[in-house]
């Protein structure tokens, strides 16, 4: 892949220049028409140019991030979501008092005094059918029960835990892998680069879902055997690994590109001329920039991972039951879609809100750390 592939990861989500940080600088740029663009570039590249003492620009970046209200708000929101999912056990034990992983098909609960069947056999008409209890909006079965008579609210929280864990872990994995591959390939160049970037090209041309699905089919049915370690097929590690791996090219390619340009950049050449050892250059000049880019990627990748995880779980090749994730809950909800839509809709909303916040945060981080960075939110 030549042009197309390079540009493909490109298209950026940028903010209007009015929102761009450091008004002042930009306006001078506009004012001084002759060098408008040059100056703007200068300003925007600044974090990179100062690559060899990262703390400085990072401080400014963070302070910039803090000034971005939307980003801060989303961050707070995310924190709230994380906390609430963390409280899953508490809710299950003390409020709903049911095990959300055990079917509860002929249990009863007390709704303000009088008992209620969790799976109520119908008494009207032909007296056919059994309907899970609806949202009580109080304590137990807050959002009602699913087809197994399990407390949806409780499952939602536990599911959230898994979804977030998977998303976070797979993102971390993806970024680390991509960072390493990209840097090595870009910095060493030569045959290593050719091989690595070829490999990336190939994986990149692999439609994400198909790759994920293919991996899942094999791994879910057999588990993964790496030397002495065996990952059982129902372990969270599987979806984490799969999602982590499939997105590597999307991050590794831009990183490689960045490292390539950096390696040719003046300040690196300078330090080469100064006879600085390669390792030192790598650590002092290259890595800080790579890390910046990775930071910029992090939120976007996380939102992608959440979506991917839910999709795989929806196809029942992601998180395996009895464990739940937002995706699996939606899947369970399919059966109840027409009578208890809430079961399917609630986790969906949870996903949307989380991903939305992550994307806002992503925009914020991007503008704060590296406004010129080109990344793309969401992938079909």
């Amino acid at each position: 892949m030549t042009t197309a592939s390079n540009t493909s990861a490109d298209p950026a989500s940028k903010v209007p220049e009015a929102e761009q940080p450091n008004q002042f600088n930009v306006q001078i740029a506009n004012g001084e028409a002759s060098s408008a663009f040059a100056q703007k570039r200068l300003f925007q590249l600044r974090p990179k140019d100062k690559g060899n003492n990262p703390r400085g620009p990072w401080k400014t970046a963070f302070s910039r991030l803090l000034r971005d209200k939307l980003a801060v708000a989303s961050f707070v929101f995310l924190a709230a979501i994380v906390l609430s999912t963390a409280s899953a056990t508490y809710y299950a034990d003390h409020i709903s008092q049911t095990d959300p992983f055990q079917s509860n098909l002929d249990g009863q609960i007390e709704i303000n005094g009088d008992p209620a069947e969790i799976m109520a056999a119908d008494s009207e008409g032909l007296g056919l059918g059994v309907t899970p209890i609806g949202p009580t909006w109080t304590g137990q079965y807050l959002l009602g029960a699913d087809a197994q008579g399990r407390d949806v609210a409780a499952r939602l929280l536990y599911g959230g835990q898994n979804s977030l864990i998977v998303a976070f872990a797979s993102t971390a994995l993806c970024l680390v892998l991509a960072g390493v591959i990209g840097t090595v390939s870009g910095f060493l160049g030569g045959i290593v680069d050719t091989i690595l970037s070829r490999l990336l090209d190939i994986i990149w041309a692999f439609p994400i879902y198909l790759l994920a699905i293919s991996l899942s089919i094999v791994l879910i049915s057999t588990g993964l055997q790496i030397g002495p370690f065996h990952i059982p097929s129902n372990s969270l590690l599987l979806p984490i690994t799969i999602i982590g791996v499939v997105y590597v090219p999307y991050v590794a390619r831009p990183i490689r590109g960045q490292v390539l340009t950096l390696a040719k950049s003046d300040f690196v050449l300078a330090s080469v001329c100064l006879g600085m050892p390669t390792a030192r250059i790598l650590v002092r000049d290259i890595l800080p920039n790579v890390v910046t880019t990775l930071i910029v990627f992090a939120p976007i990748m996380m939102s992608l991972s959440i979506l991917t995880e839910s999709s795989l779980s929806f196809l029942s090749i992601g998180v395996q039951p009895p464990a739940a994730s937002w995706g699996t809950i939606i899947q369970d909800g399919q059966g109840l879609l027409y009578t208890r839509p809430l079961v399917a809709i609630a986790p969906g909303l949870a996903i949307i809100i989380t991903v939305l916040c992550l994307n806002f945060l992503g925009d914020g981080v991007k503008d704060a750390f590296d406004p010129k960075a080109k990344l793309r939110v969401g992938k079909g």
Partner: protein
């Protein structure tokens, strides 16, 4: 002054910023007569380009604050509606930008871009427009204009692109041509050619030219009149000959000194003005040149008005009582040669 085609009266441009309003231009006033070449000189940041953009009403920034009058043939440009202004731009007042690399749309042929302007303003048909633009390209001294018409900007050298830019600018023969550092991005030989081109234009179309530059060399070659700008103000203006022979303002003097002499042995190194112009917003009280001025004295803490001395104006207290000591020295130096 009926033959003034453009009259600018205390034009002020400022920007709202997080650090409060910042003035880029302060009370700039000058005239342009029909058919003359006025050259605006100054270091970058002095606001000369801002002036031209203001005239063209190309300052799109929502935070811009613009005041003052700009009369073109008696009509006040800031007062015009967007439509009227559009009719004027490119038709009456055209502009050439510094960097021909970025100033042309990369995805259209230069021919198309020239033709576009004529089709919009003169309502020419595709064929005629093409013919005219090919002629223009030819006039601008572009070899094989027929082919050049269908080339893309990135195919052409800087000089050629600048020629194309000029061709575009004059395609609807405007009354005023604003050339913003038309030669800065080009190498010396090409510079000369472009400058000649501009002079021919004046001769042929009799259109007046506002030439914005920081290069005294350029000024000395083609300008009729010179405006010297420093940190948003016009600090001296007058006929070229007067201003170059006996500059009234120390800053102008500095600029003069920085031109390599045409005759005699070259000095080991050219004298230059110490320091650099203040950023807008950080400008000192009083005369903003004071910190760099070798002659600064107590009075300079006030903002100097424009003092008139024959046909020359200078905003410096030294000019208060006519010519000054250093000017005579300069004169002697010259006569000695």
């Amino acid at each position: 002054m009926s033959d003034n085609i453009l009259e600018i009266r205390d034009l002020t441009v400022g920007f709202r910023t997080e650090q409060g309003p910042v003035e880029i231009l302060k009370g700039v006033s000058f005239d342009v007569k029909a058919g003359e070449i006025v050259s605006v000189v100054g270091e970058s940041g002095s606001g000369k380009s801002m002036t031209s953009l203001a005239v063209m009403r190309l300052i799109t920034d929502p935070n811009a604050m613009i005041s003052g009058t700009i009369r073109y043939k008696g009509r006040n440009l800031p007062g015009l509606s967007a439509r009227e202004m559009r009719k004027l731009r490119g038709r009456q007042i055209a502009m050439i930008f510094q960097d021909p690399m970025t100033a042309l749309t990369p995805v259209h042929t230069i021919g198309w871009q020239i033709a576009e302007q004529m089709r919009v303003h003169l309502g020419l048909g595709a064929k005629v427009a093409r013919k005219r633009s090919v002629e223009l390209l030819g006039k601008m001294g572009i070899p094989d204009p027929e082919r050049a018409y269908d080339r893309y900007p990135h195919h052409l050298s800087g000089g050629m692109r600048q020629r194309a830019m000029i061709a575009m600018a004059i395609s609807c023969d405007p009354a005023i041509l604003i050339a913003d550092e038309p030669t800065t991005a080009l190498d010396v030989t090409v510079q000369a050619q472009i400058l000649d081109l501009l002079q021919d234009l004046r001769r042929e179309y009799g259109s007046s030219i506002i030439l914005i530059t920081h290069d005294m060399g350029v000024v000395s070659t083609i300008a009729d009149r010179v405006l010297v700008m420093y940190s948003g103000r016009i600090i001296e203006h007058g006929a070229k000959s007067d201003l170059l022979d006996k500059p009234q303002h120390p800053y102008t003097l500095g600029l003069m000194r920085s031109i390599p002499p045409m005759t005699g042995e070259r000095p080991r190194r050219l004298p230059s003005i110490p320091g650099s112009p203040p950023l807008p917003g950080k400008r000192p009280e009083g005369c903003s040149f004071r910190p760099r001025c070798e002659f600064s004295f107590s009075k300079c803490s006030a903002v100097p008005p424009l003092y008139r001395c024959n046909e020359q104006f200078a905003a410096c207290f030294l000019a208060e009582h006519g010519s000054h000591q250093w000017q005579r020295n300069l004169a002697e130096e010259r006569t000695a040669k």
